[in-house]
Symmetry: D3
Subunit: 317 residues, 6 copies
């Protein structure tokens, strides 16, 4: 079967405020079969410790993606020219049971990975990255990671639980899902209980980039460095929308001031071009705290930029 | 081809806050072929004289329909047992050109009517009822109408224009689309320039029911009377969401105080059971003025109630 | 000088969402000279005990009045045919000094009263009714009053102060501004410290109508009774927007559940037709708590209805 | 130890917009010891099937209770004259684990019940009523119940789970926590899968009062009847804020149109006076969907009315 | 007739939250006669391709201008000392007919230009710049332009139409209204269909400054350069409020991330001092998407800064 | 009595969205006795010239402080290890009387100062800094000050009044409460009546830092300089939340564009480490204009940073 290249529905065929509510107005598909990359939603928020609402993230990100056209004016990436991309809908999580949901998510991503498709995930809270990494690791082995966040998310336990939105990367290390020296955590900051929150990841070889380190500065040099170090290792982007400073993305559950600008966020993603990216997520968009969708707009744009740096994307000259 | 009976996606298959953003979580279809009834969006707001935003109505009505289950607990209607119903998406109107949009809408509904399908329209401003009636009249001849609204919408011209959201029923009379003595306008009120606004429709044989007439009272007797008078004549429901009192449906462009309760709105629609209904619309939902979707929730529920009174719907005992 | 009859700017001359932000799109005048009635704003909220914000009330009421056309479809009142009405702007209160503001307001209304003009006031918190009554009493003597409110506003002192938004009618009695047996307080309810809050006004001859007394019932009979009792005595309407149940008018500072419907509010005002009305106010609209203007919309409509019951208004047949 | 009668902090000691953010500005206590009744929060929302956010319910209900004064002007109840009442804070639920939270809630209420204190619960989603009933049943045996809701909440399982916000009353029957013939469910309506949703409770002896049964009517006669039938049996009020029509209480997760008015809600609670009430809850307030607190205001008022009908409350003459 | 110098109404004469809702609290005038510069609103949004609502822009900009005092603390400009400036109200566009509105706008600006007055326009969507340029060109010939925007707005046709908010500068070039080499487009970015969107304006001699070019950098040097190149040529500022990054101005219809800061916006306008400025506009403020007016506040301030760089403004030492 | 060191309630004891609504979830205390530092609210907004609402500031700042953990990840400050800190509630101001409130505030702070406790004030509008300085001066003599603001707040009179939120620092100079050469005003900008607004403070020896001076630049060097100049002199921080650019802190009454970033705000506070700080305030947070609490979140974080720079705070290595 010849690969099909789908295009976002044009604004000259259907007004941008109308038509199907899929990501980027792409076709809706039942599965990842035959796709190079897929947008997939994980409407899960029961791993959240403060404000909830990320269960509605995928829907609002799709809604706010309606302005996105297929060509990246800044980088000249034309992802739909060379990749087959569609929206495969949401994972049917069990919203009453955290553990069962983790199982459902992992199985859902097993199928995506088996189809040879790179998942671009619309979260959902950060708990979901754990089962996604589990599925990806089965095929790709321990991955490097570009992790943007206000928090390290390496707690051991929270309120007695081992799997929450504050623990995924502790578990990922323990389970061998990531390769510590290929992990960069960018944007960490704010308050904690002890220095341990940032020292433990450092002890695992993570590059911990506190927000203060790059105030007023371009992150392009940092990304150059990361590209130099990770080589061909399979890489994953996990982007928590609380990485940017709250005024730039207020619709999230655990905002912390002093973070990234949207420009730095764009530099991080664009700086991943050339990495062997096997999957990406954008998590923690909580629509009830941003009813006009400004945070989801940021998320939709960053997801498009992630698509633009997947291996095999063509850049027009 | 055997008729297919579609069911809304169950909450036990996919959480209600997730899954496809279609009306009632029904399947999305490309056209009305093979359907008994269809939900269809008309994302049009350039006929609006005061606040705009109804272009986003169809999308928000669909979003707020996610709680709707297939069975009507009050009336025992089970519409999906006997009718084939799906969501056929939006009409690709030309948002820069009112007249061209009117033409596009009429042609789009011509195809629905030819398919033998009853359209349940999600507006959009009230201008759209004119091209819908034009398409329906070609098949059904002059229709009776249950028109719920704060305004009579029978202006001759507005700012020099003959086709706007304030003129559709003057045009409908002139073009012979409706049968005056079979038309009831319910909920009219507020301010105007002269008594003419309500006297002209009366002079055409319309039953004009000013809101004050039914304050504190059930509308069931009125609906009994209407059913008695209209017999088998093809009928249409045009429900402007500004018919209800603004606190009950604030997300609209021209709110007028002193209107219907939601209970009266339900009575009107439920009271249409037994009429020879050939189409229905719910117009003037303007999401920007109600970001949490309360008005769209009302609209989604009323559209389901309209579906429940279409000819051929089975009522369980 | 011949009296000039002003008309609201028509929607066919300037779109309703544009043009001057005056009440009902009437001309702006510098003073009440030559007018039969005037709309006047008192942007005052420093007498408020709970949530503030009514300083913005006049501006938002004017903004939401843009849909009002000159003719009352329900009552057939055409106030601009026989009265000269304009918007005379706001009273320049001293927002840092309650007592000085009270003085400023009284002096401002002295001039309105001297011009022979009936003031229709857009508040502002309820404190402002005291200086307004003081100015009116100089000309008209002790007045009767239709007072709609959730609270009796007859506290003796609050936090040691004698003039606040909770005390105006105690002061009005003490100063002889109102004639007790001609005062009706409608909609009173909720919680208090003792029964005294309602017993004291009763002891002054007030008719105290607790909200519960008229649940589910038309207020028309009550208004008939009031009209029968007050005869030709000069009358004043003081309408606190917290009289209606909070869902009907959420933008106010001290909401109490179990109140009037908007229909009852309309019945009260329309029921004042025939009284010797010398002034009216609509107070306690607090825009910050209702950013889309639903409460101000109610206020604008009720103020128009007040205008329609002023002595001398013509009713078309 | 002599019983202490606490009073809400007066508005003359501290402005109503300031001071401690406890329910009704009552003292904060560590436990229920020595109290006749207590306000207690259960900040739990992970049993919710649609929109979440009720975890913030207790905090917003407390905030909106700031206007409540100690005396009920309508019923003349003066609960603080004869009962010792305080706010004992929130239950420290485990927000990552539904089952563990159910255990924590039950244990927390065991202690309240042992202290001889009647709990007035601020939810939280409706799942929490199950562990509360479990704790109360140990002391009081099977209870009667006044259950106000849009939904019967008697599902057997949801998405494979037996304990969610849609199942508590099925479980309560199975576990013998309630006495079917002493249970009334008021306000049920909307859509479902089959008639079973309302037929099953009827088969257990529940009085199921669909919303339509009382449109336009006072609920006082129904409450008279309920009082006549339940005698001295221990009774519980479970009030889901989606019982009222959504415009009256929009801040909730599963709104359904056509429900109760606030007046009917007040009639239900006031109509419980004389019952042997052993506990009450007000659940499903979701602040993110009502940022200005209108729904929480309703909840705070209804909780005060519940306090007013507890056994032993004094009514002033 | 001696020129009159009007001053904004002082906060010591009328509180800032009250008084006339004109731009900067300046006098309202019927026409531009006798004025050096005027603020004028164009409440037009039917040329918009995505979210509408800019019809309300002029009103909200005026409301948010209430804090503006007459003297620029940063630049020492005192525009009201040497220029006669007032608010001449809104253009009475025909909101049902795009083409007719374009005609009305052009005629309205013909009169302003004939009066020798420089228009400072409050939009309205970007379509309106076309008829404004047409009117100005009749007097001034082809103009240079400082165009701030996320989009180039040089589409040839959109949905078959030649005049929309995405086409004005293609038309302006074709009609000879602008002088390409004197045009700078600043802030362009985001997604498109092809590189053509930015290459075409470059081919016309425009200076296209993509947002990325000036990330982290002052725009003062760019403005120095522009001033050096344009000499005495008549110049126009067209400022689309989506030029700034969406968090800085969320109330607009087509937001794109990665844009200007407000500081850069200020630098652009202040950097126009010394140019031969003949008119300015600030477009695309859509109040429904920013109910508290933050975007309109930005717009009001930028319009004041535009006034401060008009020829003839005095700067205090 | 041994000093008690209080810790914020941990997220593992009580979910962060629940529990006591005190600042940082610290214990509530009746007075400042025994404390080294205290958080105290001043719910006062009647000194405000434009939008009100800061009366609700303390409550929302406390609510948004729930995420704050005890350790500063950036600076390694651990304030609760070495200082005894609690929340002592609100000052019971008289909201109807500005002058009386000023007296109440001063007396309240007299007691705090006498207890040897450093007050960290949650405002309230900027008027409150005057009585706070008066109380502090009695013990500490004329203080230096780091004053962050968009406005100099050195008006002589406003609308005839000498004490308002625009005059505190004129009064502070006149009364000898501050030592001019030790005062820095940072972030000043926008519009005024004359250059006097900034020239007068300069004439008193203040360092006036206009916002433009530090656009794009770190404020760390400025803070180094300030630390070098003020030596051991008692210092006070007065931080008006309108110092930051409005997009970063929209919930305030008098926003002015072109201000500080949150990063600069953090640099200012962190740069105060080593100063002899005797008190701090964070004023002008107006919750009604930011219902989701983004501005209060900024305020809560900055107040924690202020605590971290009090003398005696331990920094972990």
């Amino acid at each position: 079967m010849a690969k099909e290249f789908y295009q976002p529905l044009s604004g000259n065929e259907m007004p941008r405020f109308a038509g199907p509510a899929t990501m980027m107005r792409l076709p809706a598909k039942e599965s990842a079969e035959g796709l190079d990359a897929c947008f997939v939603g994980v409407p899960f928020d029961i791993g959240t410790s403060n404000r909830s609402g990320t269960r509605h993230g995928p829907r609002q990100i799709r809604a706010e993606s309606c302005m996105l056209r297929p060509y990246n004016m800044a980088t000249r990436a034309a992802p739909f020219d060379s990749l087959s991309v569609a929206d495969i809908g949401d994972v049917p999580i069990n919203t009453f049971n955290l553990k069962d949901s983790i199982r459902i998510i992992e199985e859902h991503y097993d199928a995506i990975v088996e189809a040879g498709c790179a998942p671009l995930t619309m979260g959902g809270d950060h708990t979901i990255t754990l089962p996604i990494l589990r599925a990806l690791e089965k095929k790709h082995g321990p991955m490097g990671m570009v992790h943007v966040d206000a928090h390290a998310d390496v707690n051991d336990i929270m309120f007695g639980e081992t799997v929450t939105h504050g623990t995924p990367f502790r578990r990922a290390v323990e389970e061998g899902l990531v390769h510590g020296p290929s992990v960069a955590q960018i944007g960490l900051r704010a308050t904690g209980y002890t220095a341990e929150d940032f020292d433990w990841p450092r002890s695992q070889g993570f590059r911990v980039v506190q927000a203060e380190e790059f105030w007023y500065k371009s992150l392009a040099p940092l990304m150059d460095e990361i590209r130099g170090q990770t080589g061909d290792r399979p890489m994953y982007i996990s982007f928590d929308v609380d990485g940017p400073d709250p005024p730039f993305a207020p619709g999230t559950g655990s905002p912390e001031i002093g973070g990234l600008t949207l420009i730095q966020a764009l530099e991080i993603i664009r700086g991943c071009r050339g990495l062997n990216m096997v999957g990406c997520d954008l998590v923690e968009v909580s629509p009830p705290y941003d009813p006009f969708g400004n945070t989801a707009l940021v998320a939709a744009n960053l997801l498009f930029e992630m698509l633009c740096v997947l291996p095999g994307v063509e850049y027009r000259s």
